[in-house]
């Protein structure tokens, strides 16, 4: 198979760095890129260098006053920063914060343009997917909401109907809100229920407002949800939503924090979900969008054992229509093991003995199924 797909990358994307103890760590992007290169999956001519987003582009979503604050954050008082969600534990100020954030937005726009202008089948920007950014507020490790900006950019320049699919374990609240009243953008987020987890929103009854009512979908699943239940509700929901909405292009946010190793969330998926998630995205893009699919990164806080494999499988599926199986390249393991604080995995799958046993598994499956049925009520006119 010889599909034209693009991997947006440049070292400058790693400048989005809060501090060394912060869980959000863009080293994940390098780890992913090298895993793909060592697997013989990523060639030099598939890598494209991102452009930088202009202030006007960032202002498609964000308030000019907020952008000004991000630019001069280093010289502002804590009181002035806190109004904009900056200078907090989650989004502390770091040097050249605006430049680093604008670079990520630019990378997502580069991925969009690769598909919609240059005619590539698909493109990925794993440094993007910062879905908690709001119009005038940073939150949840996100400064500028590259996903929302990119979708506004598509709406402004190409008039395509956009399906945004968010598989991060946290609710995609920033993107949802940016298009809450827009019937041409359908947002779908599957996430751990907000009862315990940040941000707390993403209930199944959050449906959109005004003309956008009915174009916002949420599937909150129980803590400790495992592969079978996750995939049952996810695949069913996404197929029905796509059939209801009939998108022209699909943008996926691929947070990789629903895995049982992830330290911040309580979902218990294994690598099996990260093989199916891109397969279903590919299926939707082929059925409705002439194959047009842009994949972004997102959360993912076990940067050694989970994120590189999960994101690589997105690229593998985009490229070959199937994930890789078997052993990881030994070169990759050897190159990184000494730096990793944990034992790196040796296979694309998780060994069965690693997968935790959940006592309430049956109840969780039943609860998730009921949530799915609640969501599906909104996808059909009966």
């Amino acid at each position: 198979m010889n599909k034209d797909i693009k991997f947006v990358f440049d070292k400058s994307l790693l400048n989005y760095h809060f501090h060394n103890d912060h869980p959000f760590n863009q080293k994940r992007v390098i780890l992913t890129k090298e895993l793909l290169e060592n697997s013989g999956q990523l060639a030099e001519n598939q890598i494209i260098v991102p452009r930088v987003a202009s202030d006007d582009e960032i202002a498609l979503v964000h308030d000019p006053a907020y952008i000004r604050t991000v630019k001069s954050a280093n010289n502002m008082s804590p009181e002035n920063l806190i109004k904009y969600g900056l200078g907090t534990e989650d989004t502390p100020v770091f040097p050249n914060m605006h430049e680093a954030s604008a670079q990520i937005v630019g990378a997502t726009l580069t991925a969009i343009e690769a598909v919609l202008v240059e005619g590539a089948h698909g493109a990925v920007n794993f440094a993007g997917g910062l879905h908690h950014g709001f119009k005038q507020k940073a939150s949840g490790f996100c400064i500028y909401n590259d996903a929302a900006i990119a979708i506004k950019y598509i709406r402004k320049n190409y008039d395509l109907k956009v399906l945004y699919v968010d598989t991060d374990a946290h609710h995609g609240d920033g993107v949802q809100l940016a298009f809450y009243d827009d019937p041409k953008v359908c947002t779908f987020s599957i996430h751990e229920t907000g009862r315990y987890l940040f941000p707390g929103t993403g209930n199944v009854n959050e449906r959109g407002i005004k003309e956008g009512h009915g174009f916002s979908f949420n599937l909150p699943i129980d803590a400790f949800t495992q592969d079978e239940s996750y995939l049952e509700v996810y695949e069913n929901a996404l197929r029905e939503i796509a059939d209801f909405f009939q998108p022209d292009v699909i943008v996926t946010q691929n947070g990789a924090d629903s895995h049982f190793y992830d330290p911040l969330t309580h979902l218990c998926g294994s690598m099996a979900i990260y093989e199916r998630i891109p397969e279903v995205a590919l299926e939707i893009s082929k059925t409705y969008c002439n194959g047009k699919w842009i994949a972004l990164g997102g959360g993912g806080y076990d940067i050694w054992r989970v994120v590189p494999r999960a994101w690589s499988q997105i690229w593998n599926v985009m490229k070959d229509e199937q994930p890789l199986h078997g052993d990881l390249p030994i070169t990759w393991i050897n190159n990184w093991q000494k730096e990793a604080p944990v034992t790196l995995p040796t296979t694309w799958h998780d060994p069965i003995e690693e997968i935790p046993v959940i006592p309430r598994k049956k109840e969780i499956e039943e609860k998730n199924h009921v949530t799915l049925l609640n969501l599906l009520k909104y996808t059909k006119v009966i």
């Binding site: 912060h22 869980p23 907090t88 534990e89 989650d90 908690h132 939150s139 949840g140 490790f141 946290h170 609240d173 907000g194 009862r195 315990y196 987890l197 940040f198 941000p199 707390g200 929103t201 400790f224 330290p263 911040l264 309580h266 218990c268 935790p356 046993v357 959940i358 006592p359 309430r360």
Partner: protein, 216 residues
């Protein structure tokens, strides 16, 4: 919290001589369930609920409904006298009245005049505010001995990490009077450092809990 903080000031009311039909239309058009009945001085003399009106309406199973019953005056079906609240009553007192009297709406009266209404729904909205679930946050539950000084002790863990608390609730621990559950909503996506500090300080966490294995 005072009733005046959460009551609805745009009250829809009727006079006792208005028809049941008119009351019915108001309930439907405004999606409300209670209408205070006031005299010309705005003094509350009764209240009608959607159930009072339903009781007065002809059965939908009747072949020849007698529509003219709806032309009767609301005063013929209103409840009277009425339990009312004052703007400076506490919200929890209203909750107590709703629970004890099994009702869901109180007209709010000041200087003998109707100034607002407070309903079950207003109370539930307040409850949502109290739980802090309307703002972004993470949820942590700590089991603590029920003794003086424990709350500031636990809360200082959050303060030391510079994390804002958006709400604190104190729950009973089953029926054990020796313990309480403290529920915190905190404004961070990364509660790990706090969870670590709480565990290191010897507190037992109800959430995140140890199913299936100890994890942060």
């Amino acid at each position: 919290m005072h009733v005046e903080k959460i009551m609805n000031r745009n009250v829809i009311s009727l006079s006792p001589s208005d028809s049941i039909e008119k009351a019915y239309q108001l309930l439907v058009n405004h999606k409300i369930r209670h209408i205070p009945i006031v005299d010309e001085d705005h003094y509350v003399i009764g209240i009608v609920s959607d159930r009072d009106i339903r009781d007065a309406s002809p059965s939908i199973l009747t072949n020849t409904p007698e529509k003219d019953v709806l032309n009767k005056e609301v005063s013929s079906i209103m409840s009277s006298p009425v339990i009312t609240a004052h703007p400076l009553d506490f919200v929890e007192e209203v909750a107590r009245i709703f629970y004890d009297r099994e009702i869901a709406c109180l007209p709010v009266v000041s200087n003998d005049k109707l100034v607002g209404v407070i309903t079950e729904k207003d109370l539930l909205y307040t409850l949502i505010q109290l739980t802090g679930t309307h703002v972004q946050g993470s949820h942590i539950e700590v089991k603590v001995p029920h003794k003086p000084g424990i709350l500031p002790e636990v809360a200082s863990v959050f303060g030391n990490r510079g994390v804002n608390i958006s709400s604190v609730l104190v729950y009973p621990f089953h029926n054990d009077p020796e313990y309480k559950i403290l529920v915190f909503r905190v404004q961070t996506m990364n509660p790990l450092p706090i969870i670590r500090d709480l565990r290191n300080a010897g507190y037992e966490l109800m959430w995140p809990n140890n199913i299936p294995e100890p994890r942060l």
